[in-house]
Symmetry: C2
């Protein structure tokens, strides 16, 4: 089948104001700044305020992304929300978005494949474009990890950050600064390692827990590397052609392992875990949003992710 | 674009053993059997046992659907889970399914558009088929409403039931008993009426609440009727050609209003709300599963849904 054309025509991200430095955890669970930083690469993370949640952060990110939009937001015909930390599983933020921005003729859905959710959402958009059922899509990833995580948990409490990112994707080029999406691969890995038992979020009973961190670490390294090689070779380019590598931001040691394994120069790797922690499905896309303007023409860009469950995915783009 | 072919090749549903009759609520919130039955059409509903949840019920439904499968379940290349009552938003049941049934080469995602989730899931399958990225899909809707609802709530506590349904969808006919999916329409309605405020599920704070039941009632009537007319006329058949009308099972008065408004004979309407209550996104599909075998060749079948948020959708099928 002929793949539909896909272009990112506008992007924006939102991070809550409140900064939580590593020092905050010392009294809670005994972890020092140095211990956290050397093992995770995290110095600080952002946390939603009392009045904020997954839905409000999604709307904030969209307000920013909308600033550079070259078409009317009411023309959006597909909204895909990505989150594993929902504020509301019925009144999802995609409906709040319709309501606040007057998007009255759109498919509206929320998805989760944990930290892979954004990549899966973009592949769903690709399907709607292929069917001719949509042409102007909006994908928003919003994660309120602190709403579900336990700060006293010395295994994973310090890892999580909050944030959101909104991306408009169209089936034609809307401006000279657009990034073209050339390929998307996603894959469920429930059968690998500890799978769904490795990291879980039971909203009714407690929250976000990672009992098998080593298993997650090991398979994240393996699969983020493998899926990157796959999307590169499938599209007849080489790893040396890559200008920006944007991995899921779960741990700097995973990121460095993957970059080194792939032979990607570390200065081509986009990092934000130091300042934002693990912002879940939003993390790599916030990285894209942060560097979007400065990326020169003809840049080759790859997003590569790994999620709890497990799952993996990659997006190949060209500016 | 040429639409991909889609066939339901196997279907199965699971309902928990425990029956909760209307009498159960009298001591909790003062509602009598007669009051509940005349206003909702519900006599009893099923409730998950202590050891059951959204994930275990999904697996049970799949075990039943798998019995009549004519291909190896390991050939499934796309799993879409539908639920607004998740047991685990990271270790979702689509990963448990991969693990338990050895499905090692599949896209694996969970979605929610509340009670419209199944219809949206099938449209996502349509997109993957259109792209040639999948050919054997598995859609499972599983709802554990009692995990989030409050039995003492006299507005909505008595409405909810638990249950799950699993459906295999292929891009070619696999057997003489297959049902062909001819069209799917979905639409987000966040901008209508009370929208996302009408019924919500905040997993972190309380549960499933319906502060604007009348608003839900009114728009469910309007839009389930409207979307049914739309899918019928779009496909050049008439309402009189319909053999089975399977509405979302939220309230018998909504169902009767919609059937009468459309002029559909009530003996063509599939009902299970009397015995199962509102089983969310699984409700209409459980109805399809209950009557699948008895449906004669050449039957025209429509599923029509309305979900919190709001949202609506319809599927046109032919056996």
């Amino acid at each position: 089948m002929k793949k539909p054309l896909m272009f990112i025509s506008s992007i924006g991200h939102y991070l809550p104001e409140r900064v939580v430095p590593n020092e905050y955890f010392l009294n809670l669970n005994g972890l020092t700044d140095e211990w956290i930083y050397t093992r995770t690469g995290i110095k600080e993370r952002r946390r939603a305020a009392e009045h904020e949640n997954t839905n409000t952060m999604a709307l904030e990110a969209l307000r920013i992304a909308k600033n550079k939009l070259t078409f009317k937001i009411s023309e959006v015909d597909l909204i895909v929300g990505a989150t594993y930390t929902p504020h509301d599983t019925v009144g999802s933020f995609t409906y709040e978005v319709q309501r606040e921005f007057g998007i009255t003729n759109a498919v509206s859905i929320s998805i989760s494949s944990a930290c892979s959710s954004f990549v899966n959402a973009v592949e769903i958009v690709q399907g709607y474009f292929a069917m001719g059922k949509a042409s102007k899509a909006l994908v928003i990833a919003s994660e309120h990890n602190s709403g579900y995580s336990d700060d006293t948990n010395s295994i994973s409490g310090h890892l999580w950050g909050d944030g959101a990112v909104a991306v408009f994707i169209t089936n034609e080029r809307m401006g000279t600064n657009d990034i073209e999406i050339n390929d998307i691969i996603t894959r469920g890995l429930g059968h690998i390692g500890q799978g769904p038992a490795a990291v879980y979020l039971h909203p009714r009973n407690g929250g976000l827990i990672m009992p098998h961190g080593k298993d997650v670490f090991q398979y994240a390294c393996t699969y983020m590397s493998e899926i990157t090689r796959e999307i590169i070779s499938k599209n007849n380019i080489t790893l040396a052609d890559l200008d920006y590598f944007i991995p899921h931001q779960a741990n700097i040691r995973i990121i460095n392992y993957v970059a080194d394994d792939l032979g990607i120069d570390r200065n081509k790797v986009i990092i934000n875990i130091d300042k934002y922690g693990n912002t879940g499905s939003a993390s790599s896309v916030i990285g894209l949003s942060q560097h979007y303007e400065e990326m020169p023409k003809d840049s080759n860009i790859v997003i590569s992710v790994f999620g709890g469950g497990y799952s993996t995915g990659a997006i190949l783009m060209k500016k």
